[in-house]
Amino acid sequence: MAVKNFILVCGGTACESSKGDEIFKALLKSAQKHGVQDDVQIIKTGCFGFCEKGPIVKVLPEEAFYVEVTPEDGEEIIAETIVKGRLVDRLVYKDAEKSKSNSEKIKFYQKQYRVVLRNCGLINPEDIEEYIARDGYLALEKCLTGELTPEDVINHLKISGLRGRGGAGFPTWLKWNFSKNVAADQKYVVCNADEGDPGAYMDRSTCEGDPHSIIEAMAIAGYTCGANQGFIYIRAEYPLAIERLNIAIEQAKDAGLLGKNILGSNFDFDLEIRLGAGAFVCGEETALLASIEGKRGMPIPKPPFPAVKGLWGKPSIINNVETFANIPVILTKGGEWYKSIGTEGSPGTKVFALTGQIENSGLVEVPMGTTLRDIVFDIGGGIKGGRKFKAVQTGGPSGGVITEQFLDTPIDFDTLTSIGSMMGSGGMIVMSEDDCIVDVTKFYLEFCVEESCGKCSPCRIGTKKMHEILEKITSGKGEMSDIQKLKDIGKAMKTASLCGLGQTAANPVLSTLKYFEEEYLEHIQDGKCRAGKCKDLMQYKIIEEKCIGCTVCARKCPVNCIVGERKTPHFINQDKCVKCGACYEACKFDAITIS
């Protein structure tokens, strides 16, 4: 017999703890009682947040959306909704304005807004026709029919208020306008796909999921500024993105959407891919351009800006993947439409890569001005394993931490800067109480030491010295004067470094010192790491009263540093202990503590 209804019970960890399992059983029992067990299939699902209203029960195909359900409600759901086809009114989710439940209208579902990722996860990226079917190449078409002149394009971008998504947030229309107004025999369009922040993969996913949106936007940039050659600079570590971009470029060329005389309009635009070797500094635009020219990727002082004097000395528009991906939609729907999303100073949406100690890691796209609480707790499903939230790191090695007190701050370019972090490209690394702030900061410095190109000394020496000090602090040898040293070096780097990498490399240190100074002090003064991450500051000890002498820990210890007779309390020889934690994991009597 065919099943008529489906009941989905949220089985996420948060809901599991608030009785998802019991609700499931109660529903099953009631279904049998009413003899409808063959008409309805009851299943447990994975969950995507909204846990504050959990557990959630959804009945399909009616789309009845019940919140805060208890096991006792199971009977009523079956008796009313399944048997009689009526809603259980008191359980229906009520939005502030809505009294009827309809999951499509619930605010929660509207917290994500897909502009950049409009096609990702929907179309086959290797089929140009699917892109075209979703209004792909419509904006380019409008340009080439003369419906949009280059001035119109600039004007739409100006109205839209689009700011560069690579991190700095420079108004896109200004960049394009500079380049447009310079007279030159040759101009270029460059796409910066050299995504390098740890934990960031928005651009990779966009290139993989919707490569044509970038190609279209670059052709439009060429049309607007009078460039006929474009380059996509992408790191060689993104093989799939490169493959899909190559396929897309080939398809566009075959269809007459790239190359000579595009769509019979006398406009020529060609596109080539340049592979980067994964040097972080090549994400800096002047270093990137040097790398395309075949030189060593090192930044040069600005101005002149690339829009005026860029690739091979010619005016070059250089934008990030996400910026480009926004442009075809802005031009088809209009600048006003885009301006209506997001905040006054930062219109539009932003894609974030949620990683770290978060239940639902993944890509999210939200309007600018969404709060961190919405992103982490509603969309991301909260902290892994129900641990306590500590901070979110944004902006990668150039950014800083956002702490609990700013959870309700609307996120945009300006607010993030004002609280000592930055938008960056969109990596969001969530930290819980299990993360040591000094240790995490050390990781970012380590990254900067590796990636500093070495051209200017504030960055080359500064990152190294800061890293040494952090190393000292995490190994318990820190001194009180180190804190001031960190601040001084950081300030010097900020003022004197040549490019963005050095100017911002101290941000993670300065920002964590601002909000978590007590944790630094704890490491220095008390020789303590509250998260238990800094191994040199930890000691495993056996509690004599709890140890029954079962010998399990002694047998597990890889360096044989646990001694003791069977059935008598054991001891750990601290001189030999390597702090691997094997004994701690193995002990069944909670007799081993970390201090």
């Binding site: 419509l138 993989e208 269809a255 769509l263």
Partner: protein, 132 residues
């Protein structure tokens, strides 16, 4: 594809839109979309994809379209399989290995039954619908 003119591009776009509408409303066709971004592939999307194709062949189904797409943003549950079948709610399955992929064909497509434990609530299509 031959080089297009403006008029041909317009015609192609209209054509494709109609085709998608038809596919969405047609009561017979099943569409299966596998998330094949780097995250999906790293988590085993290729195995899931080949298992789906094998199972479709094995059961001699000729009304099933299977295609790949990029990252849906649900990286914590990759590989993901998005499936639309007549008489069934649009569903996303997460953490799909070869075995679950075969189950999807047998239970979901043929048996018209959801597979417990692997359904992810809040299909991305829900979010898309309201904006387009």
């Amino acid at each position: 594809m031959a080089k297009m003119t403006l008029a041909e591009l317009k015609a192609l776009r209209d054509d494709k839109k109609k085709e998608i509408n038809r596919r969405d409303t047609d009561a017979h066709d099943v569409t299966i979309i596998v998330g094949m971004g780097t995250c999906g592939i790293a988590a085993g999307a290729k195995d899931a994809m080949s298992a789906l194709i094998d199972a479709i062949k094995e059961h001699d189904l000729n009304n099933v379209t299977i295609k790949q797409t990029g990252c849906m943003g649900l990286c914590h549950s990759e590989p993901t399989v998005d499936i639309k079948a007549p008489g069934m709610p649009a569903t996303i399955y997460g953490k799909v290995d070869a075995e679950i992929a075969r189950e999807i064909i047998v239970k979901h497509v043929i048996g018209k039954e959801l597979i417990s434990k692997y359904v992810l609530d809040r299909p991305a299509s829900d979010i898309m619908k309201e904006q387009n």
